[in-house]
C-alpha cells in the first residue's frame, strides 16, 4: 500500500499515519488504525506521509519540492494555520479530524471517491484493475419501514381526509346534562351491545314519558306535535287565534291564561318531558349527541378510490 520493500520490512518501524504511535509490524499498525481511526482514510497514506525509516532520504526530496513551489504544498499551507508550511501528518504532527476526512481539494489528476473519506488514487487505478470500474448510480438506501410509509403517503387519499363532523358541532353543549338524561342516553346507545334502533328509541322514550306522567295516557297535544299535518293545522289555528285575539278580548287575557296553564303543565312534567317534549326530539337529540362526540374526538373521513370505485 505504501510501497515499501521486503528489505525495509525487516528493519523498519511503522508509525501510525494519524498519531505518534510506532509499531513493529505493518499488521499491528493496520489493526491500530482500524480501531483508533476508523473514520480516517486508511486506503492510502496521507499526502506527504513518509515512513520513519525513509524520512532521511525523503527530506532532501521534500526540500526540493517546497523550493520548487509544488501544488500539493501550497494547497496544504492554505488550509493550515499559515505559521508553518506543514505538508505531512507525520507522527510528530498528526492531522485533525477534518484533514483526516477530506480537505476539499479534488483535482482531476486525483479523483475523489465517496464513502470512507476522500480517497486519492492513481489516475490509472481503474485501468490497471486496482479499483473497480466506477459505476455511478442512484441508490435510495433506507429502511423497509420508511419505504412502506412513503408508498402509502404517495397514495392520493393522503390529502383527502376531512373532518367527519364540523368542529363547531363539538363546541355546542350537550343536552344530556343531568344524570337521568345521561343514563337514558347510555341505555339508548348500548342496549343489546349495539344500541337501540330509531324505532326502539321512540318506543323507549315513550315508555319513559309515560312513567314520568304516572301512567297517564299521553295528552293529545303531544300526539299532535308528532303528526306533521296536525302540527301544521295547529300552527294555522294559532295564527288565526292570535289575529283574532286583540279584536275579541282586547287585553290579552287569553294569552295570560294560556301562559299560566303552560307553567302549570310544566310543573307537572318530568325532567325528560321538559327536555324532550316529543319522541322525535329525543331521537334527534341522540343523533346530535353522537355527532357532537364524533366532532370532539376528531373523527376523520377519507374517501378511497380503489379499482376505479369510490
Amino acid at each position: 500500500m505504501d510501497g515499501s520493500t521486503e528489505n525495509d520490512d525487516a528493519v523498519a518501524r511503522w508509525s501510525c499515519w494519524f498519531c505518534p504511535r510506532v509499531f513493529a509490524t505493518k499488521a499491528a499498525r493496520k489493526h491500530h488504525m482500524s480501531a483508533r481511526h476508523p473514520h480516517c482514510n486508511r486506503l492510502v497514506p496521507p499526502q506527504g506521509f513518509v515512513e520513519l525509516h525513509r524520512q532521511s532520504s525523503a527530506a532532501e526530496h521534500r526540500g526540493a519540492a517546497v523550493s520548487g513551489g509544488s501544488s500539493v504544498a501550497s494547497n496544504v499551507v492554505g488550509v493550515g494555520t499559515g505559521a508553518a508550511p506543514v505538508t505531512s501528518p507525520t507522527p510528530g504532527n498528526p492531522p485533525g479530524p477534518a484533514g483526516c476526512a477530506e480537505d476539499g481539494h479534488a483535482s482531476p489528476e486525483h479523483p475523489a471517491l465517496g464513502g470512507l473519506g476522500v480517497v486519492r488514487v492513481p489516475v490509472d487505478g481503474y485501468t490497471r484493475g486496482t479499483l473497480p470500474v466506477r459505476r455511478p448510480r442512484t441508490v435510495f438506501q433506507t429502511s423497509t419501514a420508511a419505504r412502506m410509509r412513503a408508498y402509502y403517503e404517495a397514495m392520493p387519499e393522503g390529502s383527502r381526509t376531512k373532518r367527519l363532523v364540523p368542529p363547531s358541532v363539538g363546541d355546542r353543549p350537550s343536552r344530556f346534562n343531568t344524570p337521568l338524561l345521561r343514563q337514558t342516553l347510555k341505555f339508548a346507545l348500548s342496549a343489546g351491545a349495539a344500541g337501540l334502533s330509531e324505532a326502539g328509541q321512540r318506543w323507549y322514550v315513550s315508555v319513559l314519558l309515560l312513567a314520568e306522567r304516572g301512567g297517564v295516557a299521553c295528552p293529545p297535544r303531544d300526539e299532535r306535535r308528532d303528526d306533521g299535518r296536525r302540527r301544521k293545522r295547529n300552527r294555522d289555528a294559532a295564527l288565526v287565534g292570535s289575529a283574532r285575539r286583540p279584536s275579541t278580548s282586547g287585553g290579552g287575557d287569553d294569552a295570560v291564561s294560556a301562559d299560566e296553564g303552560g307553567e302549570a303543565s310544566e310543573h307537572e312534567e318530568g325532567e325528560l318531558a321538559r327536555t324532550f317534549p316529543t319522541k322525535s326530539a329525543f331521537v334527534a337529540a341522540v343523533r346530535e349527541e353522537q355527532r357532537r362526540v364524533l366532532s370532539k374526538l376528531c373523527w376523520d373521513e377519507t374517501p378511497l378510490v380503489v379499482e376505479g370505485v369510490c
Binding site: S143, T144, A145, A146, R147, M148, R149, Y151, Y152, E153, M155, E157, G158, T161, S197, D300, T302, L304, V306, E307, V309
Partner: protein, 337 residues
C-alpha cells in the same frame, strides 16, 4: 395522548416477574411479556432512558352494522396496555368498509374483487396509522402532572384477529398455499411431522421487500401472472402490509409475525369447533372401518354432530379448504384405529 394524561393509573415501564417454584419464569400479562420487554430495551436505547413504550393492540373483526343484516363493516378497535384503569377498554378508532363478492362469476371479476378487498383494507389501515407511524419513529413528549417530561414511543404489540383477517393484514395467502405458517417457512407437505421441525423462520425484510416490489408492479400492471414469483417464493400477496410501516414491525426486532394473536372468542367459537369438525369425516371413516357408526352412516353422524353444535350455540361451518397441516390419517392408522 389526552387519554394518557387523564388516566388515573398508568404503568410506564414493564417489569419482569420472578421465577416460579419450578424454576420457570413467570408471566402474567402483556406488560411482562418477552415481546414488550425486548421492545422496551430497543426504545430506551434509541430514545434515551426517559422514554417508554406506549403499547397498543389492535382488534379487527367483521361486524353487522345494519338491522337487516345486509351490511357489514370492519370496526378497528385499539387498546393501550399502559392504562391500568379498569374502566379503560377497547376503543373503536376506525371503520373499514366491506367489499362484497363480485356479481359476475368470472376469474377477472373475482380477482378484481379480491384486489379491491385487500387494497381497501390496507389503505384504510395506512390512513388510520398515519400519525401513529410518525410517532413510533420519533416519539411524543408526555408531561404527567408533577413529573418530568417523558417520551412516549408507540409500538404495535398485538394484532387480535381471526385467521382470515390476520392473513389479510399481513398480505399473505390463505390456507391454500405452500408456506402457510405465519412464523416459519415450513412446507405444507411436511408440516406437522418430524421433518417439518426446524424450518427456517420467515425473513420479515425479504418478504416485505418482495411485497413492496410486487405492489409497485401490480399498480403498473395488474396481470396476475406477474405475481407468480411472489406467490411461489413467499406465499404472499402483491400488497404492502400497512402495519409494516410502524417502527419495530419491520425494523429492530422485526415483530411483524410475532404480534399476531388470536381472539379467544374466535378460537373457541369458530376455530376449535371448526377444526374438530373438519377432522370428523376422516376420523369416522377410519374409526368405523367401513362400517356404520352408532348413529348410522357418516353423513348421518355428521348431521347429528352439526345438530348438537347448533344446540350448543356454535355455528359450525366446515371450510371447503383442506387444512393439510395435521397428518391425521397416518397417525390414526399407526395406532390401529
Amino acid at each position: 395522548m389526552d387519554l394518557l394524561r387523564n388516566a388515573r393509573h398508568v404503568q410506564v415501564w414493564g417489569e419482569e416477574l420472578g421465577v416460579g417454584p419450578d424454576g420457570t419464569r413467570l408471566r402474567s400479562e402483556m406488560m411482562d411479556s418477552d415481546l414488550f420487554l425486548s421492545e422496551e430495551v430497543v426504545v430506551r436505547r434509541r430514545h434515551g432512558s426517559q422514554s417508554f413504550v406506549l403499547a397498543v393492540q389492535l382488534f379487527i373483526d367483521e361486524a353487522v352494522v345494519s338491522w337487516s343484516g345486509a351490511h357489514y363493516m370492519y370496526p378497528i378497535r385499539a387498546r393501550v396496555l399502559n392504562f391500568r384503569d379498569r374502566s379503560v377498554q377497547w376503543v373503536t378508532v376506525g371503520y373499514v368498509p366491506h367489499v362484497g363478492k363480485p356479481v359476475a362469476r368470472t376469474a377477472a371479476a373475482r380477482r378484481r374483487a379480491s384486489d379491491s378487498r385487500n387494497g381497501v383494507l390496507q389503505r384504510c389501515v395506512a390512513v388510520l396509522l398515519r400519525r401513529f407511524v410518525g410517532a413510533s419513529q420519533d416519539g411524543v413528549a408526555v408531561q404527567f402532572p408533577g413529573q418530568r417530561a417523558l417520551t412516549a414511543v408507540p409500538r404495535l404489540v398485538g394484532l387480535v384477529t381471526d385467521q382470515l383477517a390476520e392473513r389479510s393484514l399481513v398480505c399473505r395467502m390463505g390456507n391454500a398455499c405452500e408456506f402457510f405458517c405465519s412464523h416459519c417457512m415450513v412446507r405444507r407437505d411436511v408440516a406437522g411431522g418430524p421433518s417439518g421441525v426446524g424450518a427456517a423462520a420467515r425473513d420479515v425484510t425479504a418478504v416485505l421487500d418482495a411485497q413492496l416490489q410486487g405492489a409497485i408492479a401490480r399498480d403498473a400492471d395488474p396481470r396476475p401472472s406477474l405475481r407468480n414469483q411472489l406467490r411461489a417464493a413467499h406465499s404472499a400477496l402483491a400488497f404492502v402490509p400497512a402495519v409494516g410501516a410502524v417502527w419495530g414491525i419491520a425494523t429492530d426486532n422485526k415483530r411483524l409475525y410475532d404480534i399476531i394473536s388470536f381472539d379467544l372468542l374466535h378460537v373457541w367459537k369458530l376455530g376449535v369447533v371448526r377444526t374438530v369438525a373438519q377432522r370428523f369425516p376422516s376420523f369416522l371413516s377410519i374409526a368405523c372401518a367401513g362400517q356404520d357408526a352408532r348413529l348410522g352412516p357418516v353423513p348421518t353422524s355428521l348431521e347429528a354432530l352439526n345438530l348438537r353444535a347448533w344446540d350448543m350455540g356454535h355455528l359450525c361451518v366446515p371450510s371447503p379448504t383442506p387444512p393439510g397441516y395435521v397428518l391425521a390419517l397416518s397417525s390414526l392408522s399407526s395406532v390401529g384405529l
